[in-house]
Amino acid sequence: DQQVKQNSPSLSVQEGRISILNCDYTNSMFDYFLWYKKYPAEGPTFLISISSIKDKNEDGRFTVFLNKSAKHLSLHIVPSQPGDSAVYFCAASESLGDMRFGAGTRLTVKP
């Protein structure tokens, strides 16, 4: 039961351009959403989060947008840098502790 879906397994973007990573969820009870970034051979690291009372959260080059009616969130990275190349996981949480992750999107930023 895949409650969090990242339908694009990979994305390639030119350096300096915008990267847009998408995530869809099915559980309307989810009320907290996070993005994690993962480099090879390392554990995921937290990137940015948003609660359901907001529709946008910005942190430097990273912005997360939440559309609750569409059960959709997206991560925008602008401008993209080669060091942003990694796998990005979307995660959603309903309540205590339980967090569900998507399958990840591999972002490649080309110089």
């Binding site: 969090v4 990242q6 907290y32 996070l34 994690y36 051979a41 390392e42 554990g43 995921p44 690291t45 937290f46 989060s49 609660s51 996981f89 995660a91 949480s93 205590l96 502790g97 339980d98 967090m99 569900r100 992750f101 998507g102 399958a103 990840g104």
Partner: protein, 115 residues
Amino acid sequence: GAGVSQSPSNKVTEKGKDVELRCDPISGHTALYWYRQSLGQGLEFLIYFQGNSAPDKSGLPSDRFSAERTGGSVSTLTIQRTQQEDSAVYLCASSLSGVTYNEQFFGPGTRLTVL
């Protein structure tokens, strides 16, 4: 150490053997989580501990999987009679509290290969 640590980093075992994976969370973090990532798959939730108790065991794939946490700190994930489909990277994470929405800090993972 400052982060979540896991051991071993790699484990190769034969089908049918038992394995034990260890996780040391960040000191003071009361919540601890186990996930696994199979080849080409996302992170699959296995189990969550709040202190020493496990309020959510819903993700354990079969009764061959068990986990415990003692002293509110170290956790071990045990897989009995391993099967080839158990091959995956097993990730542990901890957070300050499972009561509020806290960021989870992940360890580097244990890569398990069942031959």
